[in-house]
């Protein structure tokens, strides 16, 4: 059993794509599709790498990350953030929230794979 990735993302097709790419590389991919209870899901079953979308129904990816880092002390958890809004202020917001890696959609599959590998090894 390989390392576990938790993907929090609401677009079904993107979930499918990322799951396929990571599974093929030997990762165990778990998914969750809304922001409401994302923090609880992460807390309940801490992954090796967390992939977090920004625009989520219920709660934004920034808020989820901030909560994890500040309220739950999850400062060590490697987090990769994905956003479709590719403006620089989005990157700033993500970094202030405490992101490890930030990627703008669309991304190449290899890029995604490299990022997850890097994060898990760091």
């Amino acid at each position: 059993m390989g390392k576990r990735v938790l993907l929090i993302e609401d677009e079904p097709n993107i979930i499918e794509a990322i799951s396929f790419i990571l599974s093929r590389d030997g990762w165990t991919v778990e998914t969750h599709a809304n922001g409401h209870d994302a923090v609880d899901v992460v807390q309940g079953n801490l992954p090796d790498v967390l992939i977090l979308d920004v625009m989520l129904p219920g709660k934004s990816g920034y808020d989820i990350l901030r909560e994890l880092r500040e309220s739950h002390g999850r400062s060590e958890l490697p987090v990769l953030m994905l956003t479709a809004r590719g403006q620089s202020k989005d990157r700033d917001l993500a970094e202030r929230a405490g992101v490890n890696r930030f990627m703008t959609k669309p991304f190449s599959n290899a890029e995604m794979l490299d990022a997850v590998r890097d994060l898990s090894e760091a």
Partner: protein, 892 residues
């Protein structure tokens, strides 16, 4: 014997001399060398135009006929100057402060600037003066006659018409010689003063000759007087009082007296000198009247005209030189009277009759001042000629046969009708325009009927029947026995009735009528003139005024500037300290400075008020009011501008806020677009890479991934289509394709289109067939688009287990509404506000839309003249679209 031609030549020389005097005086006045022109002596001498040809020749005749009664004619004015000088002073003060031009102006101005009153007084004055001018014509003609007879040239006697023409010409040239139509005539006044000296000198010379040359010395002459009838004649108390009143009234009211006494007055203090000097002049004029009369009666053959003793007595003694001097004295008396009277009357006629008429008929002419000036001059010249010719007409009508004094008294009585109104106006605030008009009218009519018309001789202007039996045969309307009172002499009869009824009417009508505001204001100004304006020559008063001026100037100019101005002036004057003497020069400077800030009229009024040289006249007040109005208008304009500015600023602020809001919206929009584009592209890229990389993919996987790519590509296309559609709708660039159609058909099409794919089977639709039959004129394709969108939304978002959509149709007048209500959970209240915005997300679940559908629907409905709203209080999500059944082009 001196030839007539020589006499005419002497006259011309004399006239030329007078012109020269006038010319020199006027040139001096223009150069500002007015010191000697403004001496009180000149003023006093100018008053002597009271003594006309009548006084010069007629007084002797009067004395020869009626004894000492002639004295009354001198006593009246003397008493006025000695005892009533304060009345004269009041008139002069008012005349100066109100800038009056004539007695008609005085009365009209006092009674609220009534032009009707001015016209009335002008007519009265013209008619009243006419006999007087006739008198002068007669005296000059008679004096020529004397010389003509003496030299045996009687057949060459110049007729009165030539005298009249000559006098008119003389006056026109003299009185309106230059283009200066100001009411002051320095040259004329100077010439009159010279003439006053000439006539006094001539009369005294004749008197001295008579007493010492003929009468054999003072004692002998006095004895002769005692023996003659003249000394014995009784003094008739009533008649004397009447005549004195008459002459006093005439002195105050004669237009020519007003001209020299008030209009030409330069300085009120001259009155002080005149109050003793003028009676003295009159005494000198009257001193030798009785001796000349007595000696003349004694010396001349019976039946010779006593009016001409002044000429005939020296001639009979072979003293031609003295006779010519005497002739010149009489000529002076006549010409000076005619000149001033004609000037005064022409001023009245042109100001009160001609100019108002001319201005009324030329609406635009008054803008060119030179134009008006020429008209004024022309009007005055014509008036002068007219006035003199009226005098000639009277002379012709009366046959030139009456005694000079009698004609003079007719004139006096007519002009005296103004007295009650003048005195009432000066001293009684209750006097009104109606009263003045009533009094003047009654007095004038009585005078006209009982004295003027009969005076030209029986049967000329008034028939003998009327004279004997009364007007309309009514005996109490007999001109010389009004109300049946007989036995009075005609003059006293007229004087009694006209003045008493005039006064009674004036008071009665004043009491029962109410003054207008302007009348009240003017009344107060006139009656209280001395409270409004203090000292006489206070232009040169002390430092106290300078302080007041300083305080005022500081208020208007600001402290620093005012102090600088004052100390500069003080330095210039060589006065120590900061307060200069209020010299006329400084006052002018200050007025100019002030007028820059508050306007000329206000500055003038303010300085006048403080310095006290003149009261604030109504014209001043009007001018001040005008200026204030202008200022108010100006400040109103300023306020308007500042309002406009702040309005513009607010608009700018709003525009700026709007721009900021739009900019924020634009950012959000771009961000949204980016998200909506990148999301499908992410899937497309990921799966296309997976497919490209190959590897161990099952057939099913390959197919699935390819169809995901396909779906996402379609989603992208639809997103772009929607964006473009919305953009077109928002910019109003969409052209509607209006057609007649049926609402039912549109709904049919929409339902079948929306439910075409297999997913559609899940949604049940309930229609409202009974109401759907609505003919409609609109863009059917666009409306169908909205319907499809709403049905598709229900299909996508309705959470119910058995989704159901109810489509209800209703009409209200020309409007139709269609409700789309599903049986889901509905839309949360906070979301209801935003669902029509672009990219609004209604629910958590993704349904493949970009969130532009309702925004597009709203745009379409707006274009179709209707709208789309969320219906609150329904079971599920409920939308209502409303639109006019017939979209008119105008509604777009």
């Amino acid at each position: 014997m001196i030839a007539l031609n020589a006499l005419v030549a002497i006259c011309l020389c004399y006239v030329t001399f007078l012109f020269a005097v006038a010319f020199v005086a006027e040139r001096a006045a223009r150069r500002g060398q007015v010191g000697w022109l403004r001496s009180p002596l000149v003023y006093t001498l100018s008053l002597s135009i009271y003594c006309t040809g009548w006084t010069f020749y007629g007084a002797v005749g009067y004395a020869a006929r009626s004894g000492l009664e002639y004295i009354t004619i001198y006593l009246g004015p003397s008493l006025v100057m000695l005892g009533w000088w304060w009345v004269v002073r009041k008139m002069v003060r008012i005349g100066r402060t109100q800038r009056l031009t004539s007695i008609a102006d005085l009365i009209s101005s006092r009674f609220g600037k009534s032009n009707l009153l001015a016209i009335g007084v002008t007519i009265l004055a013209v008619i009243g003066t006419t006999p007087y001018i006739a008198l002068q014509l007669q005296s000059v003609t008679l004096s020529f006659d004397v010389f003509a007879r003496a030299s045996g040239e009687a057949e060459q006697l110049p007729s009165a018409i030539w005298v009249a023409i000559g006098l008119a010409l003389f006056t026109v040239i003299f009185g309106t010689r230059n283009l200066d139509v100001n009411e002051r005539h320095h040259g004329v006044v100077m010439a009159i003063a010279v003439e006053a000296v000439v006539k006094l000198f001539a009369l005294v010379a004749v008197g001295l000759f008579v007493v010492w040359g003929i009468g054999g010395g003072l004692g002998a002459t006095l004895d002769k007087i005692d023996q003659s009838e003249i000394g014995a004649w009784q003094v008739e108390g009533g008649r004397w009082a009447g005549l004195m009143l008459l002459s006093a009234a005439a002195f105050l009211c004669l237009p020519r007296m007003f001209q020299v006494m008030v209009v030409e007055n330069d300085d009120e203090s001259h009155l002080r000198t005149a109050s003793w000097a003028f009676p003295t002049y009159l005494i000198c004029m009257s001193l030798f009247v009785v001796p000349i009369a007595v000696v003349g009666l004694d010396l001349m053959p019976a039946g010779s005209n006593p009016d001409l003793f002044v000429l005939t007595v020296p001639l009979s003694q072979g003293r031609e030189g003295l006779a010519i001097l005497s002739f010149l004295g009489g000529f002076s008396s006549a010409t000076s009277m005619v000149i001033v009277a004609a000037i005064a009357l022409s001023t009245m006629v042109s100001n009160h009759i001609v100019m108002p008429i001319w201005l009324r008929f030329t609406n635009d002419g008054a803008t060119v001042s030179g134009d008006v000036r020429n008209v004024v001059l022309l009007a005055r010249r014509l008036s002068i000629v007219g006035v003199v010719m009226l005098g000639y007409l009277y002379y012709r009508l009366s046959g030139g046969g009456n005694a000079l004094a009698a004609i003079g008294l007719v004139s006096f009585t007519g002009v005296a009708q103004v007295l009650p109104v003048v005195l009432g106006g000066l001293f009684w605030r209750g006097a009104t325009r109606v009263g003045a008009f009533a009094g003047l009218t009654i007095g004038f009519c009585i005078w006209l009927f009982t004295l003027f018309l009969p005076s030209v001789g029986p049967g000329v202007l008034i028939s003998t029947t009327v004279m004997d039996q009364g007007f309309f045969g009514l005996s109490w309307l007999r001109p010389q026995a009004l109300f049946g009172i007989e036995g009075l002499d005609p003059l006293m009869h007229t004087l009694l009735w006209s003045l008493s009824l005039n006064t009674v009417a004036f008071f009665a009508f004043s009491l029962i009528s109410f003054p207008t505001p302007l009348e009240r204001l003017q009344g107060a100004q006139f009656v209280n003139i001395f409270q409004h304006s203090s000292g006489v020559r206070s232009w040169s008063a002390g430092v106290a005024q300078s302080e007041d001026l300083m305080i005022m100037a500081q208020r208007i100019l600001g402290a620093r500037e005012a102090q600088a101005l004052f100390s500069r002036a003080a330095q210039k004057q060589g006065v120590s300290g900061n307060l200069p003497e209020p010299t006329p020069g400084f006052l002018e400077l200050l007025e100019r400075e002030l007028s820059g800030s508050v306007g000329a009229a206000t500055a003038h009024a303010m300085i006048g008020q403080i310095v006290g040289g003149m009261s604030v006249s109504v014209q001043d007040l009007m001018a001040v009011a005008d200026e204030s109005a202008q200022l108010m208008e100006y400040s109103a304009r300023l306020k308007e501008q500042s309002d406009e500015l702040s309005r513009a600023a607010r608009q700018l602020r709003e525009a700026n806020q709007k721009l900021t809001r739009i900019s924020v919206q634009k950012d959000a929009f771009l961000s949204q677009i980016s998200h909506e584009l990148r999301t499908p592209m992410t899937s497309i890229r990921a799966f296309s890479e997976i497919l490209r990389d190959g590897g161990q993919l099952t057939e099913a996987e390959q197919t699935k991934y390819a169809s995901i790519i396909h779906d996402e590509a379609i989603r992208l296309t639809r997103l772009l289509d929607d964006l473009l559609d919305l953009s077109v709708l928002e910019n109003g660039q969409v052209s509607l394709n209006l057609r007649h159609d049926s609402l039912r058909d549109l709904l049919d099409r929409a339902v079948s289109s929306a439910l075409a794919d297999e997913e559609g089977a899940g949604l049940r639709i309930r229609r409202d067939a009974g109401h759907e039959d609505v003919p409609i004129y609109t863009d059917p394709d666009r409306l169908t688009q909205v319907f499809i969108n709403l049905i598709a939304n229900a299909k996508k978002y309705c959470e119910a287990a058995h989704p159901e959509l109810e489509i209800r149709v209703g009409r209200r007048g020309d409007w139709v509404f269609v409700d789309f209500v599903d049986n889901g959970l509905g839309i949360s209240p906070e979301a209801q506000d935003v669902i029509f915005e672009k990219f609004a997300r209604v629910s958590d679940q993704k349904a493949g839309g970009a969130g532009l559908g309702l925004a597009i629907c709203r745009q379409i409905m707006t274009r179709l003249g209707g709208g789309i709203t969320y219906l609150k209080g329904e079971r599920g999500a409920a939308f209502r679209i409303e639109l006019p059944t017939h979209l008119s082009m105008a509604a777009q």
